[in-house]
C-alpha cells in the first residue's frame, strides 16, 4: 500500500469515533459517541439550512448569479482560518512525532499526511455549505445538469488552496520561531499578530471597495463579492466553471491545488525535522537559583497552573486568549479614533443616533471576551495528566474553582479596560459606566461558570492532539455556539429595549439576569464536582473489585 495512504488511513482511524465505538466497552462512552453524532448532525442541518436561506435571499433579490462566488469565498475563508488555528498542533509539535519520524516515512510524507488529515476531517463542513448552496442555486438559477457534478467535484478542491496558504503561513511562523530560544512565545506572538492583521484586513478591503454610489446593502454585498473574486482567483475559477461551463477554469482550480500541494510540502518537508526539533526542545538553564518562593491557596495554585498551561501552548493561547487581546485592541482603537468613528466604520455610515448603541457596550465587548472560555477547554486539556489532579488531596470543586478563577483573571481585566475605554470615548456618564462595568463583570462570571459546566460535563481526556480539546471538543462547541448567537441577539434586544425604557433600569435588569445565570451555572459546576468525585470513587472501587476477582 502507498505509504501516504497508509499513514493517512491510520491517522483517521486513530481518531475515528467509529473505531472507538467498535472497540470500547464502556457503555457511557459509547452513548456519548452516539450523542456526539446526533449533535454534529444537528449542526450540519442548521448550517445547511442557513446556507439554503442565504441562497433564497439571493434568489428573491435576483442576484442568484453571485451564489457560486459567495460559496467559494465562504468556504475559502473558513478553510483558511480553521486551518491556521490548527496548524501548530497538527502539522508541528504533535505528540506522536517521535514515533512517526523514527519509522521509514519521508518528512514530507508525514507533513503532507497531517495536512490531508486536517483536510479530510474538515471536508464534511465545507461540503455541507457547498451542497446547501448548490441546492439553493439549483432552485433559482435552474442550471444545466452538468453544473451539479462539476460543482460537487470542484467543492472538493475549493478548501485546498486556502488551507495550503494557512498551513504555509503556519510553517513560516514556526520556522521563524525555531530560530529563537523562546520558540513557543515567539510563535504565539507572531500568530496573534497575524490573526489581528487578518481581522483588520476586512475593514481595509471594505474601505477599498466601498462605493458611495451603491446604496442598497445587497447590491453592495454583490459588488464586494465580485471584487473579492477578482482578487482571489480560485473563487473566480469556481464561479466561471459553474456559471460559464469553463473547462479551463475547472482545470486551473484542480491543477493549481495539486501543484501548490506538491510545492508546499516539498518546501515544508525540507525543514520539517529541524523545525520540530527546535519546537520540541526546551533550553535548560543551569544557573537557576532557588529563591522567592510563594505560598498560595489551593485554588490560586490551580489558577497558576492553568496560567502556565495556557502560555505553554501556542494553540491554547491563540484560541483561549485571542478574545481578550482583540477586546483590549478594540478598546484602544476606540479610545484613539473615537466611539462615533468606530460605529461609522462598522455600520457603513448608517444614519442613526450613535448614543442608542451605548447600552450595548458590555455586550459588544463580551462578543470578543466570551468567544472562548478557558474553563470549557481546561478540564479536557488535563488529558492523560488527569491523574496529577486526581491524586492530589483536593476536592473536585477546588480544582474547578481554580480553573474558574483563572478565567476570571483573564477576562475581568480585559473587560474592565475595554469598557472604560469605550465609555470614556463615547462620553458615557459615570453612573452608566459603573453599571456597564458591573454588567461586564457579571457576563465574565457567567462565561466562566457556563464554560466550566460545558467543560466538566463533556470532559474528554483521551485526545490524540490538544487541538481536539481546544477547538473540536463538544464542550467548546456547546459553550461557544449558543453563547455567540445569544450575544448577537442581546445586542439587538438591548438597542431596541433601550429606545423604549430607561436604559439604566435595563442595565440593572441585565446585571441581575447575568448574575443569576452565573450563580446557577456555578452551582451546577459544584454539583457536577460532587458527581464526578463520586463517579471516580465508584470506578476506583469497581476496578479494585475486578482486580481482586482476577
Amino acid at each position: 500500500m502507498n505509504k501516504n495512504i497508509l499513514l493517512l488511513r491510520t491517522l483517521l482511524l486513530s481518531t475515528s469515533q467509529r473505531n472507538i465505538y467498535r472497540y470500547c466497552k464502556d457503555k457511557k462512552k459509547r452513548g456519548k459517541i452516539v450523542g456526539g453524532f446526533l449533535a454534529a448532525g444537528l449542526l450540519y442541518a442548521m448550517l445547511m439550512a442557513y446556507c439554503v436561506l442565504m441562497c433564497v435571499g439571493y434568489g428573491l433579490s435576483g442576484m442568484i448569479d453571485a451564489a457560486p462566488v459567495m460559496c467559494a469565498l465562504v468556504i475559502s475563508m473558513l478553510a483558511f482560518f480553521f486551518t491556521f488555528f490548527k496548524t501548530n498542533g497538527y502539522l508541528f509539535n504533535f505528540k506522536e512525532y517521535d514515533m512517526l519520524m523514527s519509522l521509514p516515512f519521508e518528512s514530507s510524507t508525514v507533513a503532507g499526511c497531517k495536512f490531508m488529515y486536517m483536510y479530510v476531517k474538515s471536508l464534511p463542513w465545507y461540503l455541507s455549505i457547498s451542497l446547501a448552496m448548490l441546492i439553493g442555486y439549483g432552485a433559482y438559477a435552474h442550471p444545466a445538469a452538468i453544473v451539479y457534478p462539476v460543482w460537487i467535484i470542484l467543492s472538493l478542491f475549493l478548501p485546498v488552496i486556502p488551507m495550503l496558504i494557512a498551513a504555509f503561513l503556519g510553517f513560516l511562523i514556526a520556522r521563524i520561531s525555531a530560530g529563537f530560544r523562546k520558540t513557543n512565545i515567539i510563535q504565539t506572538v507572531l500568530t496573534m499578530i497575524f490573526v489581528i492583521f487578518c481581522f483588520s484586513l476586512r475593514f481595509i478591503i471594505e474601505s477599498i471597495f466601498r462605493n458611495e454610489q451603491v446604496e442598497a446593502t445587497l447590491e453592495r454585498t454583490s459588488e464586494i463579492t465580485s471584487n473579492a473574486a477578482g482578487i482571489y482567483l480560485p473563487a473566480k475559477w469556481f464561479a466561471d466553471a459553474v456559471t460559464k461551463n469553463s473547462v479551463v477554469a475547472m482545470l486551473l482550480l484542480m491543477g493549481v491545488s495539486a501543484l501548490l500541494f506538491a510545492s508546499v510540502f516539498r518546501v515544508v518537508g525540507n525543514s520539517y525535522r529541524s523545525i520540530n526539533s527546535a519546537l520540541k526542545s526546551h533550553a535548560a538553564s543551569k544557573k537557576y537559583k532557588l529563591s522567592g518562593q510563594k505560598k498560595r491557596s489551593a485554588v490560586r495554585a490551580v489558577a497558576f497552573k492553568e496560567y502556565k498551561r495556557l502560555i505553554g501552548s501556542t494553540a491554547y493561547t491563540v484560541n483561549g486568549a485571542m478574545g481578550e487581546i482583540l477586546a483590549i485592541l478594540f478598546g484602544l482603537i476606540t479610545l484613539i479614533l473615537g466611539f462615533d468613528r468606530i460605529v461609522q466604520v462598522v455600520t457603513n455610515d448608517a444614519p442613526f443616533d450613535h448614543a442608542m448603541l451605548q447600552p450595548a457596550i458590555p455586550f459588544f465587548i463580551y462578543f470578543f471576551i466570551g468567544m472562548a472560555a478557558t474553563t470549557a477547554m481546561s478540564p479536557s486539556l488535563e488529558g492523560r495528566n488527569y491523574w496529577i489532579v486526581q491524586s492530589l488531596p483536593i476536592e473536585k470543586k477546588t480544582l474547578y474553582q481554580g480553573k474558574m478563577l483563572f478565567n476570571m483573571y483573564l477576562t475581568v481585566p480585559a473587560m474592565v479596560f475595554t469598557t472604560l475605554c469605550m465609555c470614556i470615548s463615547a462620553g458615557v456618564p459615570a453612573v452608566d459606566t459603573v453599571l456597564y462595568l458591573l454588567l461586564g463583570l457579571a457576563l465574565c462570571a457567567f462565561s466562566t461558570a457556563w464554560g466550566c459546566v460545558c467543560g466538566v460535563k463533556h470532559i474528554r481526556l483521551d485526545w490524540e492532539n490538544e487541538i481536539e480539546a481546544i477547538k473540536q471538543g463538544s464542550a467548546v462547541a456547546l459553550y461557544m455556539l449558543p453563547n455567540m448567537f445569544v450575544v448577537m441577539g442581546l445586542v439587538v434586544l438591548v438597542v431596541i429595549l433601550g429606545l423604549r425604557m430607561d436604559h439604566r433600569l435595563l442595565a440593572l435588569a441585565f446585571i441581575l439576569l447575568a448574575t443569576l445565570l452565573a450563580a446557577l451555572s456555578y452551582l451546577r459546576v459544584m454539583s457536577l464536582a460532587k458527581k464526578t468525585h463520586v463517579d471516580i470513587k465508584q470506578n476506583q472501587r469497581k476496578r479494585r473489585g475486578k482486580r481482586r476477582a482476577a
Binding site: I20, K25, K95, E96, D98, M101, F105, E464
Partner: protein, 251 residues
Amino acid sequence: MADRFESGKAMLDIQHYSKTYGEGKKAADDVCLTIESGDIYGFIGHNGAGKTTTIRAVVGVLDFTEGDIYIDGHSVKDEPMECKKVTAYIPDNPDLYENLTGLQYLNFVADVFDISAAEREERIKKYADMFEITDSLGDMISSYSHGMKQKVAIISALIHEPKLVVLDEPFVGLDPKASFTLKEIMHEMCRNGSAIFFSTHVLDVAEKLCNKVAIIRKGKIIATGTMEEITEGHSLEEAFLSDTFAEADHE
C-alpha cells in the same frame, strides 16, 4: 561472554556528534561511539546527561548540524530512509495511537515495513505470546497499562527484524517476567547479528546484559569500552560513582 558476542561490522557509528540548544548549551558534545553487530551496548549517565538527545538523533527524530551518524554504513543526515528501514526505536514513554487496538497498531507498523501477512502473523503471535499480551491485542491501547503499552511498542519494534535496536530506558514499567523476556530477545537478536544500543539507569542490568558500555556526563562521553575495561574488576555501580569519572566530570 566473548564467544557469544562476535565482533562484526559497525552497525552504528557516531562521529563527532554535537547538539547545541539555545544560548550555546551543548546537550551532546563531540560524541563518538561505534557499535558493532552482536553488541549489546549500554549507554549510562545521570538525568539530563544527554542520553536521550543522542538517541533521538540516532533514530532520525532530532535534527543536528555537527558531526554525522552512520547506521549500517548509511548517513542519518543524507540517507535517513535507508537508516530507518534497518532500525527500531523504543522510547522511554511510547506515544502510541491510543484509539487503535494493539493489533491495529502492530498491523500499521507491519504495513510501513511491508511485512507479508504470513510473516507478521507469525511474529506478532510469537512476541505477543512471549510477553503474554495476546489476549489483549483486540483492546484499545487507551485501556492498556504503561507496561502493556511498552510491550506493544517492543513488539512493533521487533516486527521487521531490525539490524539495530535503539531503546531508551526499556525496562521501565515492565514486569519481571517481561524484563527477562526482553533480555532473552536481546541476546537472541545479537546472536543473529543485530546490535542493541540502549540507555538505562539500572546499572545492575547493564552490567549483566551488556558487553560494551559508554558513560556520558554533561553531553560528553567520558568512558567507553568493554565492560571489563570500564569496571576494572569492580562493579559497574562502583565504577560509575568512582572518583575517576567524577574527575572527568570536573575537567
